[in-house]
């Protein structure tokens, strides 16, 4: 639609934004090629939401240039708004109204012709598996359904660029998986997506490119694989109760990856970095240890967390992480992996 010469749907350069003395964004740069997914990863308070608010015309940047589908977000805010969709942690749906009413109202407010709103709403309700509950008040929906309805509302006018601010925060593992499926399908249809998340695993699952944001700056960027390599990838860990078997154990798992296993003799604990081949390595490790006759305890695969990324990139742990959010990600992640 947009008459742009660029292959990028989103281009951000030297973006600064302060609130009084708080320097929320300190010169952010990135570009998102059309039809791809950018995952913006960072702890709470890193500046992710501020960046999204500037990109979606809700906040004026102090300086810097942001072009969305060829339009400047400051000078051509109205044109930008016609091309973007936004969904986030806070839902815009009115809980007293039905799913269908919510979508139809959003369609009308996006200036869609009355004739096409109904059909589009019905189509989205069907696609997002809300059709059965379409005529019930949204307050009777599960958290996952409400989030899907909210996402549907942001898609009603078929935006070419979609912003999702922590779309799965607060969802249970099942709701999270459902959301991931929907997001993948959207991207398959050519939508450009900017997604913020506190979960490395989520960015890994969905994004083509990840930018890690901390204290208002991009501290690392690249493909998920590159980022995970920087961290060292998955880590296989187990305990060998019988000290005499420690050496056998190390030998058994030595060939699992390029990196050498590390053992803590006192704790009888062995760690093996296994790159991105986590689950295969897990199976292989069990097989080899069994063949070598080594008895193990607590054999587990740890996926790198946001904390690990921060440790690898900045040398310090992620600060201002919300209670349990950054830590708690390991449990749903493990559930997904197994």
């Amino acid at each position: 639609m947009a008459l742009t010469n660029s292959d990028f749907a989103i281009e951000v350069s030297a973006l600064h934004k302060s609130f009084g003395k708080v320097h929320a964004l300190r010169g952010i740069d990135f570009a998102v090629p059309r039809g791809t997914v950018l995952g913006m990863l960072g702890p709470n308070g890193a500046g992710k939401t501020t960046a999204v608010r500037v990109l979606t015309t809700l906040l004026r940047p102090d300086s810097g240039r942001i072009i969305i589908e060829g339009y400047d977000v400051v000078r051509d805010a109205a044109a930008v708004r016609r091309r973007i969709g936004l969904a986030g942690q806070a839902t815009a749906i009115q809980l007293e109204l039905t799913g269908r009413e919510n979508l139809e109202i959003m369609g009308r407010l996006n200036h869609m012709p009355r004739s096409s709103v109904k059909g589009r709403a019905a189509e989205l309700l069907e696609r997002f598996e809300i059709a059965d509950a379409a005529d019930r008040p949204a307050k009777t929906y599960s958290g996952g359904m409400q989030r899907r309805l909210d996402l549907a509302a942001s898609l009603i006018a078929e935006p070419s660029v979609l912003f999702l601010d922590e779309p799965t925060t607060g969802l249970d593992p099942y709701g999270r998986l459902g959301m991931w499926d929907i997001i993948r399908e959207l991207v398959g249809r050519g939508t450009t997506l900017l997604l913020t998340t506190q979960y490395l695993e989520e960015a890994d699952e969905l994004a083509n490119t990840i930018v890690v944001v901390d204290h208002g700056e991009v501290i690392a960027s690249g493909t998920p694989d590159r980022l995970k390599d920087q961290v060292g990838g998955d880590l296989l860990e187990f305990t060998v109760p019988d000290r005499a078997q420690l050496d056998d154990a190390v030998r058994a798992v030595a060939g699992l990856s390029d990196a050498a296993p590390t053992g803590e003799t006192d704790a009888k604990r062995i760690k093996v970095p296994v790159g991105s081949g986590g689950s295969t390595a897990l199976v292989e490790a069990v097989r080899r240890l069994d063949a070598a006759g080594v008895v193990t305890e607590d054999l587990a695969l740890h996926r790198p967390s946001l904390d690990d990324v921060f440790l690898a990139v900045t040398g310090h742990a992620a600060e201002a992480a919300p209670d349990g959010a950054a830590k708690g990600q390991k449990s749903p992640a493990a559930g997904v992996a197994s």
Binding site: A2, L3, T4, N5, S6, D7, F8, E11, S13, A31, R53, T56, T57, L58, L59, R65, I67, E69, G70, Y71, D72, R75, D76, A78, A79, R81, R82, I84, L86, G88, Q89, A90, T91, A92, Q94, E96, L97, E101, I105, M106, R108, L109, N110, H111, P137, S154, A157
Partner: protein, 275 residues
């Protein structure tokens, strides 16, 4: 060539007429949305309709016997314009609370990232609230008729009274919209609303003749806008000196215009800085 270096798109912007049409249709969509929510929540109906009805019955039958009202038609006739004015003022609680909720929940942000007219959130809220107010006023008049109230000044007087009550309500709505958007915290909004709306409506001529109040209170009660509005409503409903050009009508309209001139821009300003 990248767009950073290259020329920006400059597509023709919508015409002023198109923008105006969108502003109207967006406001009406928001009005419909707000009214639907009101109709769906029994608690809102109870708060907005049942409560004023209870006030009518309480004042008519519990306090009515003890209050000696001037004029014809007894206390119920004196009371009804007061209750209607109070109802219009109280209805604006909902305006403040709804806007505060939308501001804190991030709903307003979402609307602002959409191409809809910027004015539609406030306009849709005010239109919906004035429609709701009108419905409640008509219900109360019905209840008033059941307990002995009669308009004594013809249809024009009755319509005039309802109109003034509406203008009064919309004016207070603009104050409430500002209060709701500035305070934003729902419970604080509720508490603060009680602090300023209750004294204004009770320390007025709404329920009792001001002459029965202590002298120091009369000073305030006599000249405050709620008293002027209710005196004018009473004059239109019941007939009074120099109808329809009762001086309180002009004085109250002046007051209301003054409040609107101050608070509509303040409400718009507070709406812009939400978030």
């Amino acid at each position: 060539m990248t767009a950073i270096a290259g020329p920006l798109n400059t597509r023709a912007r919508p015409s002023a007429a198109q923008m105006a049409r969108w502003a109207i249709s967006d406001s009406l969509v928001m009005t419909r949305r707000n009214l639907l929510v009101w109709l769906r929540v029994p608690a809102y109906i109870v708060f907005t309709v049942v409560q004023p009805v209870i006030f009518v019955l309480l004042f008519r039958y519990v306090f009515g016997g003890a209050i000696h009202a001037p004029g014809t038609g007894g206390y119920v006739s004196y009371l009804m314009p007061g209750i209607i004015g109070q109802t219009a003022a109280f209805a604006t609680f909902a305006t403040a609370i709804a806007l505060a909720q939308e501001a804190t929940k991030g709903v307003i942000d979402r609307f602002r990232a959409m191409p809809m007219a910027r004015s539609a959130v406030l306009a849709g809220r005010l239109i919906a609230d004035s429609i709701r107010m009108l419905i409640v006023i008509l219900v109360i008049i019905g209840v008033g008729y059941a307990v002995g109230f009669r308009f004594q000044n013809g249809v024009a007087g009755a319509v005039g009274m309802v109109l003034l009550a509406e203008i009064f309500g919309i004016t207070i709505c603009s104050v409430s919209a500002f209060v709701g958007l500035v305070i934003k915290d729902e419970e604080s909004v509720q508490a603060f609303g009680l602090i300023w709306i209750f004294p204004l409506t009770f320390v007025s001529s709404a329920f009792v003749p001001i002459a029965t109040m202590p002298g120091w209170l009369q000073v305030f009660a006599n000249d405050q806008p709620v008293t002027l509005v209710i005196n004018a409503m009473r004059a239109m409903a019941l007939g009074g000196p120099a109808f329809p050009l009762n001086p309180s009508l002009w004085e109250s309209l002046l007051w209301l215009a003054g409040i609107l001139i101050v608070f509509v821009p303040l409400a718009v300003w507070s709406y812009r800085r939400v978030g």
